[in-house]
Symmetry: C2
Subunit: 236 residues, 2 copies
């Protein structure tokens, strides 16, 4: 009784930090896994190791807790995988490869649990109030960067609108593996999944595909290309 530490008998939570942060973390995972409606305040509080009343005490509302969770996940993810930066002389095709690699790494993430991405995916699929902010702060700069790389790549030969559509083509290729990963897994043989569907391999494929489409490198089927090295060495 003398010790100040919480009893260990019923503390399933990492009772280290601020209860507010614990709730935020637990809520993010729960919302990401089950969705807004199916996730219950009680389960979140259980996972966070706090009382049910804590949610309303700290956030006022389930809805406001949700919005805070999305923002929190977003900020966390930006810190984990920041936008790439290059020295001024790095060629555009290598910048494109880096960008795609970065995008896939962030979307498919390897070591880290991708619950933040799952949460954001729900927002992309069916935007709520939390989404507009997400787009403006986070996606628009990324998108603008990609468009500028593409512009450099085919130095001004394509109008802005076409560049945007090409950018969408790139994002779409990456997005599929994140959003429909389970179905992709059903359509592709197991061993192929393991060997070819890693973030790095996919980045190589998407980059080659795009550079070929833009005429920057030879087309995919061309003999000089089959199984040659990808157009850039990735310095990760």
């Amino acid at each position: 009784m003398g010790t100040v530490r919480q009893s260990t008998v019923s503390a399933p939570a990492p009772a280290g930090e601020d209860p507010r942060d614990r709730i935020l973390a637990a809520a993010g995972q729960e919302f990401a896994e089950r969705g807004y409606e199916a996730a219950t305040v009680r389960d979140i509080c259980l996972a966070a190791g706090v009382n049910v009343a804590a949610v309303n005490y700290y956030f006022g509302d389930k809805k406001r807790l949700y919005i805070e969770s999305v923002k929190h996940a977003h900020e966390l993810r930006v810190k984990q995988v920041p936008l790439p930066e290059w020295p001024g002389d790095r060629p555009a095709d290598e910048r494109l490869h880096d960008f795609i690699d970065n995008l896939l790494e962030r979307m498919l993430g390897f070591g880290q649990p991708p619950w933040q991405v799952r949460l954001m995916l729900r927002e992309v699929l069916q935007p709520t109030d939390a989404c507009r902010e997400l787009v403006e702060d986070y996606m628009r700069p990324h998108f603008a960067l990609l468009v500028s790389i593409l512009d450099d790549l085919c130095d001004g030969r394509l109008p802005e609108s076409e560049l945007r559509r090409v950018a969408m083509s790139i994002i779409g290729q990456c997005f599929l593996y994140r959003a429909a990963g389970d179905v992709v897994g059903m359509l592709v043989p197991q061993r192929e999944l393991e060997s070819l569907h890693t973030p790095a391999r996919l980045a190589d494929h998407v980059t080659r595909f795009t550079l070929a489409a833009l005429g920057v490198s030879p087309p995919m089927g061309s003999p000089a290309f089959s199984s040659s090295r990808p157009p850039t060495r990735t310095p990760r």
Copy 2:
């Protein structure tokens, strides 16, 4: 009192057909819009113009109603937009364009309400029991067809695994507009959306992009190509 017709005062439903079918239709829309958890049996029954007990009477369960709804939506969609078929001599590049056009038409659908697609999208994103069937009956044949077109297109120069990845690149480009349409709409100027983001225009873009990547037609930026006609006339 003599008339057999239901009173018109509280019949918000198209009380034409089988109550079972009415429930199925209402459930599909409700599930598509709000998701499984958020959609309530009461709302579905209200929309269908039947009593709450009818769901359990006809389907036994909310979960079984959901599965039946997904299957129903899928069958309905297959009838609405069937797989394209071609005479034996239609060139591969035109078949590719038709396929992509068909895919986008089914995904983005114009006149018809796309609630069936929304419902299936939920399954793709987070598969339930209803999904495996969906993939086997519906998506795998489509995917195989696409791969075979691609194989014809670059007559055997690419291995099967590469063809599959190219197929994924195509599907991904189309999928983005369906799944993340709202975000796309935030990133692209309004007038560009209206003029360039119709199913037909997008099909042209994706086809050109893919054919260029495969080296079947000149790359996107090439002077001979800017604003030339798309590689195939669409005989829709």
